[in-house]
Amino acid sequence: MEAVLEYALYLAILVILAVPLGIYIKKLMKGEHTFLSPLLNPCERAVYKLLRIDSEKEMSVKQYIISLLIFSVFGFVFLFLLQLLQGILPFNPQGLSGVKWDLAFNTTASFITNTNWQAYTGESTLSYLTQSLGLTVQNFLSSATGIAVLFALIRGFTRVKTDTVGNFWTDITRILVHLLIPLNIIISLILVGGGVIQNISPAKALPLLEPIAVSADGEIIENAVIDVEANTVTLNGSKIEGAQIVTEQFVPMGPCASQVAPKQSGTNGGGFMGVNSAHPLENPNPFTNIVEMISILLIPAALCFTFGSAIKNKKQGIAIFMAMFICLGIALSVIAVNEQIGTPQLSQSGNVDISSEMQSGGNMEGKETRFGITASSTWAAFTTAASNGSVNAMHDSLTPISGMVTMLLMQLGEVIFGGVGCGLYGMLAFAILTVFIAGLMVGRTPEFLGKKIEPFEMKWAVIVSLATPVAILIGSGIAVMLPEITDSISNSGAHGFSQVLYAFSSCGGNNGSAFAGFNANTVFLNITLGLIMLFARFIPIIGILKIAGSMANKKRIATTAGTLSTTNAMFVFLLIFIVLLVGALSFFPALALGPIAEFLETMV
């Protein structure tokens, strides 16, 4: 019962914070006065003045797309070069060498597309300069880009007979100055107070209370008697030659909190540490965990209310929010129940206590004690519903059905809240499909928000909705046909296939989480997954902006008694149905070979 209350509170906190933030974002989008204007408006104007930007000058869709793409190209080139050259650049106390080209390509594609797939381990691969000047910057810029595209789409719906959708420079400046920078300053300071590290010291080696003995070939020697003074290791009375005694522990350091804040709030997800927010120095306790976890869905949920408020139809925003929220609730329940039940392989016919007496119990493999089942399950649902991809527990060690749900949330196209901006614009593409299909059923011209839906919009809406499934299925299809993929897989049988499917779902959905036993750092996977991330990010962006431009050009048609309501429960149901129809049916065969097969195996 207590667990149910905990889950409910997580969801409640999210909604309570998202509503006012949504209204705030609508105000900043329109340049209206907010309580922070006196402080932030001068900063915003300083940017325009310094860069000689005419903030009032509107852009055509073509100009908006070109601006966005060129801006992203600069981000790409800069981050790629920064990684290659980090070995000769400052703020590299560990003396790490430059990143290999294929890994650098993958990581760059990953961070400019807001995916933050990590084929590397941060603490052993990237210098502090790369982390802060490269990754932290893209954590801000890629999320600002996503929100800007949503703003353009909203303008498309609200404007009548115009050729313009806003100014890209103004949009990203406002999003950064009024939203992302102040929000992340607050979040990172809260996190440091909670125990997340933030420094520029080199990593430390600190003494272990109990030393570890290691044999000459690197194996841990169990039950050995260790004499540190004499430097001898004895096992059952006999001295072991060549044994080494490890007396110190590696303690990573660095500017972590300032990277983690935008990683969480901008649905980025790329951890400072290899194991992401499961690492005790990146997420030390249940308090920092709530802050990081709520941050995952905060902006994506708020944008639903921004949308409703901006189109002057609050009910529409709530309807879209409800469709997402219902799917999230169902996914969370399935994960929570399965993780609490655990598996027969773990319970060992009752020899292992997985009850909730004085402990979380359940499937604790890959989970941290301080988060237990509740905070780990909630995070798993949030991070895959949003295209965040950070983790506080290892998804590779989820029970089969939970693993399937997290995969499915990504495969649905990251529209259950999804990424900042991109989740909502993806869902609006599905809304367009929905009114079209509903319109066909009742024999009426489809319309959405007073705008007629015509072949041009339908064409792009289909491309937007199918980009993710196509990228995932073709990518993973090719991958499993290659013999060398088996070298990357760490689990056998159906779970091994799930590892491949998860990797491609994560990159195709621009999510970034992983079944982390999968070794993705190979030339083939770095390149393929990098290309998939770029495709799944920029094709939908172009599609959405095309739709925005075409919508802005149309006249508004009057609502009549025959107009299909897009704000009632029926529409919410239809929307969920269409999302599931496209997503789930595309992936059922693949899921049957992976997690479903694995689940059925545990039953026998």
Binding site: L51, F250, P280, E368, A393, G517
Partner: protein
């Protein structure tokens, strides 16, 4: 608005926000963190009388009967070296499916080992934290149930009463946040430092 104009604007705005979000923001947070929260910002490192005993947030491996044991650690000694070039211990998660036969055999071995070291507990089921690897591989905590399971052994091996062990565990226990969020935890390193009389 020509393409040339867009390119120059894109470059300028990219560089400006790289400076703001990459340099100024990171420096501001680092400065404030070092000023207001120096202990947390530098890794929550336990120091007693000038001697350092590790970070309270990073798990260490304990196998001796006199120490409280933590989560199963998947130890990595090949990735990191100290200044002298000697190997330094780190740990990584298992990433193994909890529904596999391989896993079943692995857990069975752990159960056997733990039972052998805790004969006092007989056939009492072993709390799940003691037979599972954590998410980070470096979990510094175990549940109160997993701590209680080891009380009898710790009392015997350290030649103190069970109540004394329980009192130490109580001191090292942190409740749920606001009594509801997350899980109650026992810090293993702190318990062991107290058993040694260091803390």
């Amino acid at each position: 608005m020509t393409v040339k104009n867009i390119i120059s604007k894109a470059l300028l705005i990219f560089l400006l926000f790289t400076l703001i979000c990459g340099v100024i923001y990171t420096a501001l947070i680092t400065g404030l963190a070092q000023l207001i929260f120096p202990y947390q910002a530098n890794g929550s490192i336990i120091e007693v009388n000038g001697k350092v005993y590790g970070s309270e947030l990073l798990g260490q491996q304990f196998t001796s009967d006199k120490y409280m044991w933590g989560r199963i650690m998947n130890i990595d000694i090949s990735t990191y070296k100290d200044k002298e070039g000697d190997p330094v211990m780190y740990a990584i998660p298992s990433n193994i499916s909890p529904a596999s036969n391989e896993y079943e055999q692995l857990v069975a071995k752990r159960v056997e080992k733990i039972k052998a070291s805790n004969p006092e507990m007989g056939d009492t089921p072993i709390p799940v934290d003691l037979v599972t690897c954590s998410g980070s591989g470096l979990d510094p905590h175990i549940s109160p149930a997993a701590a209680e399971y080891q009380v009898k052994r710790l009392a015997r091996a350290n030649d103190i009463s069970e109540d004394e062990v329980r009192e130490i565990i109580r001191k090292c226990t942190t409740g749920k946040f606001l009594g509801i969020f997350g899980a109650e935890t026992v810090n293993v390193l702190k318990v062991n430092l107290m058993l040694e009389g260091i803390l």
